[in-house]
C-alpha cells in the first residue's frame, strides 16, 4: 500500500493529514459489511406491515414457505422460542425483533423469508399475506399527548445508560418522557416585560440517507455469535444482544469495518437482533441488507413542534423565555428520550436569560421510529429559536446581529441549567460570521422578479454526558504502533484523527500508525460514535493510552540503563535480545457529570459545548417562490482543529445535509400513515446543482482546554444555523415568514400572492 511516511518532526496535530483510508477506498479494497459473503449464508428479506396500527389476526406464510428455493420463513413465534422476551431499545424495551400481536406503523417488520438467493427471498415475501384488525392511530406529535389511540399499552425503561436512569414504568400514555426545566420566575418576568413575543414553529420527518444502507450479518455456534454489522455502536450491540440471549458478553462478538455514512441511523440495535436470532434458528450465517427505500421504515429524524415565548426589556434584553417542545418519536422510542432531554435543556438557545421554563415531550405515534440524526434534535430547536430571535429583532427595530450580541451567553455565565459556559466561543463565532458576511455593507436588493435577502442564525449544543471511551495503544518491537478503539469510521475521518493524536504523543507520523476497527473481542468498550463525542472522548482515551505506552517505554529505558533518546527498537532488542515483545498502553475517559434535579438544573450538564452559526445570501423569484442560495457561510467553534481539512469538510458536509432538510426533504404521509414518497424519485436530497454558488466553512481560533490537544467534536455544528438563516433571509428578501420546514416554493408563493 502506498503510504508516505511523514517526518516525525512535523507536529501531528493541526496538520491536514490525508485520510489514512483514502487509498483503500478509491481502490475498492476498503472492507464493508455490504460486500461480505460467508459460506452457506442465507439472505433475509422482510415482510412489513401495511397498516399503521392494528392487531395481527392472521399471518399466512404457507405459500412463501412452499416457493422453490425458500429455506425458511420466520415470524415472532419462532423468535420467541429463542428469545422469550424479544424486546429491545436503548431507552425503553419497547421494540420487538418481529411484530408480536400488534403492528404500530406501516413498514414494521412482521416476518422474514430466508433463502440462499436473495431474489427468491424477495419473491417469496410477496406471497405472504396478513390480516389486521385496524386500531385507531395517531400521527401528530401534539395530538399524541391527548389522543385515545395508545401506541404502547405498557412501557418498560431499559435502564442501560446513566443519563436515562430516570425513565419510569408507564401505562396507557403516548408520552415516553417529559423533561421539565424551571429557572427563576418566568411568570413574573413575563408580567414585567416591556414586550412579549410568542411563535410556533414545526419541522418535518426526514431520513438519514447514508450511501450504504443498513446491513448486518450474523454467524453462530450453539454458544457463540459473531455479528458483522454497519454499526455506530458495537459495544452497545454486544451488551444488548447478550442481554436478549442471557449470555455473557464474551460469547457475542461484534465486528464493524468501515461504514458508508451513519449520521445516527446506525446506532443501537437495528438489524443485529434480527440476524442473530435468524442465525441461531437456522444454524447458518444470515445476512440482511436493506434497500435504500427500506430505510424509510427503519429510522428517521423527529418531526417536531415548538412553541416559544419571550419577554424583552426596554433596552432589548431577553428577560424571560418559555419553551414547549413536542418530539414525534414514531412507534418506538429508540433514543428519542435522550433527544427530548439533552436537546430540551438547550431549547432556550445560546442566550443569557434569567427566567426560563422548558417543557419537552417525547411522544409515541404510529409513524416510523425517529432517533438521532446529525444534531440530536438541536437543528429542530435552532430552527425555532433563531426564527423567533429574528422576528423579535425585526419587531424591535434592532439589527439581528446586534440583538443577538446583546443577549448572547458570555464565557463564565450560567446557561439555563445553571451550568457555566466554558470554552464556548459564541461571541467569536458571531463576530466572525458578521465579518465574513460583510454585514455592515448594505446588500443589493435585486430587481424585477428577483429579490435578494440575507439572514443569519447561531446555535449551540451540549455534548451528551456522561459517556465512556476506552482505548489501547500497542508499540511493537520495531517501533511501529497500533491504536485499538471502537470508534466507527463512517466517513468522518476518526481513524486519521486518532492516529494523529497517538502520533503527537509518541512522536510518530500519523500515516505510519494503524488503527484497528471495532471488534468487541479485540477493541475496548466505547459508548458509541454519536453526537460529535468521539474526538473528545475517544481522543482523550487514545491520548491517555499513548501517554501510558510512552511512560512504559521510558520506564524500560531507565531500567535497562538506556539514554532517554534511545530509539524504540533498541529498547526491545536490549530487553529481549532480539526484535520481540511489545508495550501496551491503555486509557479510559469519562467526564464528570451531575444529573439534573427536579427542576432540570445542574451545574455540570456537559463536558463541552459546540457552537455553529450560518449566514445566507439568497434570491427569491417573486413569481414562483423559488429560492436560490448565492452564498452560504458556516462558522463553528471546534476547539483546536486536529485535522483542519477534515474539519472543513465536516462543516460543509453538515451544512449541505441540513440544506436538503431545509429546502427539499420531507417524508409525506397520507391520512392512513402510508408514506407517499418512499423512493428517491420522490424524496429529493440535494445534488450538486442545489449547492450555493459560494460557500465558506470556517473554524474560529479556539481551544477546548479539556479536549485532546484542545480539540472537540465537529460532526454536527455545521447543521445548527442553516435552516433558520435561510428562513430569515427569505423574510429579509420578500417580507414573508415561514414557520414550517421544508421551505418549499409553493409555501412562499402562497404568502406572496
Amino acid at each position: 500500500m502506498k503510504r508516505a511516511t511523514q517526518s516525525t518532526e512535523t507536529p501531528q496535530v493541526g496538520r491536514s493529514v490525508p485520510r489514512l483510508e483514502s487509498w483503500l477506498k478509491v481502490s475498492g479494497r476498503a472492507e464493508y459489511v455490504h460486500n461480505l459473503r460467508l459460506p452457506g449464508m442465507l439472505y433475509g428479506k422482510i415482510f412489513r406491515s401495511s397498516v399503521a396500527h392494528g392487531r395481527i389476526k392472521r399471518l399466512d406464510v404457507a405459500a412463501a414457505q412452499a416457493l422453490a428455493g425458500v429455506y425458511r420463513v420466520v415470524t415472532s413465534k419462532e423468535v420467541r422460542e429463542v428469545i422469550p422476551d424479544p424486546y429491545y431499545g436503548p431507552a425503553f424495551h419497547d421494540q420487538p425483533i418481529l411484530a408480536i400481536d400488534k403492528v404500530r406503523y406501516v413498514g414494521e417488520p412482521v416476518a422474514v423469508v430466508l433463502a440462499s438467493d436473495p431474489h427468491v427471498a424477495e419473491e417469496a415475501v410477496h406471497l405472504i399475506t396478513a390480516e389486521y384488525e385496524e386500531l385507531p392511530a395517531v400521527y401528530d406529535e401534539v395530538e399524541a399527548v391527548t389522543s385515545k389511540a395508545i401506541v404502547h399499552e405498557v412501557l418498560r425503561p431499559a435502564g442501560t445508560f446513566p443519563d436515562l436512569k430516570h425513565l419510569k414504568d408507564r401505562k396507557n400514555t403516548n408520552v415516553a418522557l417529559e423533561f421539565r426545566l424551571r429557572r427563576g420566575n418566568p411568570e413574573k418576568a413575563f408580567q414585567d416585560a416591556h414586550r412579549v413575543f410568542e411563535h410556533r414553529f414545526s419541522t418535518q420527518q426526514v431520513m438519514h440517507t447514508p450511501l450504504e444502507p443498513l446491513v448486518s450479518v450474523a454467524e453462530s455456534t450453539e454458544s457463540s455469535l459473531t455479528i458483522h454489522t454497519a454499526s455506530q455502536s458495537p459495544s452497545f450491540v454486544r451488551i444488548e444482544i447478550a442481554r436478549l440471549l442471557g449470555w455473557p458478553e464474551n460469547k457475542v462478538r461484534v465486528r464493524v469495518p468501515f461504514l458508508g455514512g451513519g449520521f445516527g441511523a446506525k446506532l443501537y440495535i437495528k438489524l443485529e437482533a434480527l440476524v442473530s436470532v435468524l442465525s441461531l434458528i437456522t444454524k447458518k450465517p444470515v445476512k440482511i441488507s436493506l434497500t435504500m427505500e427500506e430505510q424509510f421504515f427503519t429510522i428517521t429524524k423527529h418531526a417536531s413542534t415548538f412553541r416559544i415565548k419571550s419577554g424583552v426589556s426596554k433596552d432589548g434584553k431577553i428577560t424571560a423565555r418559555e419553551c414547549e417542545v413536542w418530539w414525534n418519536g414514531g412507534a418506538y422510542a429508540d433514543i428519542g428520550p435522550r433527544v427530548t432531554q439533552k436537546s430540551g435543556f438547550t431549547a432556550p438557545g445560546p442566550y443569557d436569560i434569567e427566567h426560563v421554563a422548558v417543557d419537552s415531550y417525547a411522544l409515541y405515534t404510529n409513524l416510523p421510529p425517529a432517533g438521532a440524526l446529525r444534531g440530536f434534535g438541536i437543528p429542530q430547536l435552532v430552527w425555532a429559536y433563531e426564527g423567533h430571535t429574528d422576528l423579535m429583532a425585526r419587531e424591535l427595530g434592532i439589527d439581528p446581529i446586534e440583538f443577538r450580541r446583546r443577549n448572547l451567553l458570555r464565557e463564565g455565565r450560567p446557561q439555563a441549567t445553571g451550568t457555566v459556559m466554558k470554552d464556548a466561543a459564541l461571541e467569536k463565532v458571531l463576530e466572525r460570521l458578521e465579518t465574513l458576511m460583510d454585514w455592515r455593507t448594505p446588500l443589493n436588493r435585486g430587481t424585477g422578479t428577483v429579490k435578494k435577502g440575507r439572514g443569519i442564525a447561531i446555535g449551540f449544543k451540549a455534548c451528551v454526558s456522561p459517556t465512556t471511551s476506552l482505548a489501547a495503544v500497542n508499540v511493537n518491537a520495531d517501533g511501529s504502533c497500533i491504536v485499538y478503539c471502537s470508534t466507527a469510521d463512517m466517513g468522518q475521518g476518526s481513524d486519521t484523527a486518532m492516529a494523529q493524536i497517538a502520533g503527537e504523543v509518541l512522536h510518530m507520523a500519523a500515516e505510519a500508525i494503524t488503527v484497528v476497527h471495532s471488534d468487541t473481542d479485540v477493541t475496548p468498550y466505547d459508548m458509541a460514535t454519536l453526537g460529535s463525542r468521539s474526538l473528545f472522548h475517544m481522543g482523550n482515551a487514545v491520548k491517555l493510552a499513548a501517554e501510558d505506552a510512552l511512560n512504559k517505554l521510558n520506564v524500560l529505558r531507565k531500567e535497562l540503563g538506556l539514554p532517554a533518546d534511545c530509539p524504540i527498537p533498541d529498547i526491545f532488542k536490549k530487553k529481549y535480545g532480539m526484535q520481540a515483545g511489545n508495550v501496551s498502553g491503555t486509557g479510559s475517559y469519562i467526564p464528570s457529570y451531575k444529573s439534573p434535579d427536579a427542576n432540570g438544573l445542574t451545574d455540570n450538564a456537559t463536558p463541552f459545548w459546540m457552537v455553529g452559526a450560518s449566514g445566507v445570501e439568497l434570491e427569491v423569484d417573486t413569481e414562483t417562490g423559488k429560492v436560490g442560495l448565492t452564498r452560504l457561510v458556516n462558522v463553528a467553534d471546534v476547539g483546536t482543529p486536529i485535522n483542519p481539512k477534515i474539519v472543513e469538510t465536516q462543516i460543509s458536509g453538515a451544512a449541505i445535509m441540513q440544506l436538503g432538510f431545509t429546502l427539499h426533504e420531507k417524508m409525506v404521509f397520507d391520512s392512513q400513515g402510508q408514506l407517499r414518497n418512499a423512493s428517491f424519485a420522490e424524496y429529493k436530497i440535494p445534488g450538486m446543482l442545489d449547492l450555493p454558488a459560494s460557500m465558506v466553512n470556517e473554524a474560529v481560533v479556539a481551544e477546548q482546554k479539556s479536549g485532546p490537544f484542545g480539540g472537540k467534536g465537529v460532526g454536527e455544528s455545521g447543521t445548527f444555523g442553516v435552516s433558520p438563516a435561510i428562513a430569515n433571509a427569505i423574510h429579509d428578501a420578500v417580507g414573508v415568514r415561514l414557520t414550517s420546514l421544508p421551505l418549499n416554493p409553493e409555501s412562499i408563493w402562497e404568502k406572496l400572492k
Binding site: 431474489h119 419473491e123 410477496h126 413569481e623 414562483t624 429546502l663 407517499r676 423512493s679
Partner: protein, 255 residues
C-alpha cells in the same frame, strides 16, 4: 427484483416475436424500467434488449433522423444536433444527470410516457415524428400522438425505431422546466415553445401527457391535478409564468 430472462435479438422481427410473451418488456437504457422492477411495479418474466438492432445512429440531411437506441449523451454531444437544433442540447444538459444520460435512450425516453420527462414535449413542439414497427408493418406518427395518458401510449405491440425531426432553421425555440424540490427533481411543469408561422407550444409534467396549447388563454382549460410537486392551483400558475418565460427565451435564442 424478481428473476427474468434476458433476450438480446439481432433483428427487429425477432425482437417483436420475443415480445409476444405475456408480460415481456423491451429493454433499452433501463433507467426507468429497472426502478419499476426494483419497486415491484413491473415483474416481467422476459426482457428483450434492443441493443443489437443497429438503432444507434444519428443521421442528418436536412432533417435529423435519430435511431431509437441513441443515448441521450450521444445526442447531447452530436455537432450536427448542436448546430441545427441547439434547443435539444440545452434541454439535455439539465435532463436528469450525466450517469442517466449515458445509458438512457431517445426511444426509451419517448416510450416510457411519464409526462414529467423533457424530450416528449420538446420533440412534439419541434414537430418530430416517430417510426413504429410492429408485426403488421410500420407506420409513422407525430410524437404527441404516442401518448394516451399517464404512463400510457398508443403503441400496439410496436417498437419505436427512429425519430425524425424536421429542420428548425432560424426559428426560436426553448424548453423550460420548473422543479419545486431539488434541481434534479422531476419537473412540476415543463413548457416547450417553437416559434414560427405555426408556433407550437406544448405543456407537460403538470398535465398527464404533453399537451399542445394555442397560447396563454388556453391554460385555464388544461386539466391539472395536484401532487407532491405542488397543488393544482400552483402548477397552473407556474405554467403561466413559464410559458411567458419560454416565449421570451425562444425569442432571444441564439443559434
Amino acid at each position: 427484483m424478481s428473476p427474468f430472462e434476458l433476450a438480446a435479438p439481432s433483428s427487429i422481427a425477432e425482437a417483436i416475436a420475443l415480445l409476444e410473451e405475456e408480460g415481456a418488456r423491451p429493454l433499452s437504457g433501463g433507467t426507468a424500467l429497472m426502478l419499476m422492477m426494483k419497486a415491484g411495479v413491473l415483474r416481467p418474466p422476459r426482457l428483450v434488449s434492443l441493443r443489437n438492432l443497429g438503432l444507434g445512429k444519428i443521421e442528418t440531411g436536412g432533417s435529423l433522423r435519430i435511431g431509437a437506441m441513441t443515448t441521450l449523451s450521444a445526442l447531447e454531444r452530436s455537432p450536427e444536433v448542436r448546430n441545427g437544433w441547439p434547443v435539444i442540447v440545452r434541454t439535455l444538459r439539465r435532463l436528469s444527470n450525466v450517469r442517466v444520460r449515458n445509458v438512457a435512450t431517445v426511444g426509451g425516453a419517448l416510450a416510457h410516457a411519464d409526462p414529467h420527462m423533457d424530450l416528449p414535449p420538446l420533440l412534439s413542439a419541434l414537430g418530430a415524428r416517430v417510426k413504429l414497427v410492429g408485426k403488421g408493418g410500420e407506420r409513422t406518427i407525430p410524437v404527441e400522438a404516442l401518448y394516451a395518458g399517464y404512463l400510457e401510449t398508443t403503441l400496439r405491440n410496436e417498437l419505436i425505431t427512429h425519430v425524425e425531426i424536421p429542420p428548425l432553421g432560424k426559428r426560436g425555440a426553448a424548453y423550460l422546466k420548473c422543479t419545486t424540490r431539488s434541481a434534479d427533481d422531476w419537473p412540476a411543469v415543463g413548457v416547450a415553445v417553437v416559434l414560427g408561422d405555426d408556433t407550437r407550444i406544448f405543456v407537460s409534467a403538470a398535465t398527464d401527457r404533453p399537451t399542445r396549447i394555442a397560447g396563454e388563454a388556453a391554460i385555464a382549460g388544461l386539466k391539472i391535478e395536484g401532487d407532491l410537486h405542488g397543488s393544482a392551483e400552483y402548477k397552473k400558475h407556474l405554467v403561466r409564468v413559464y410559458l411567458r418565460r419560454a416565449i421570451d427565451e425562444a425569442r432571444n435564442a441564439v443559434h
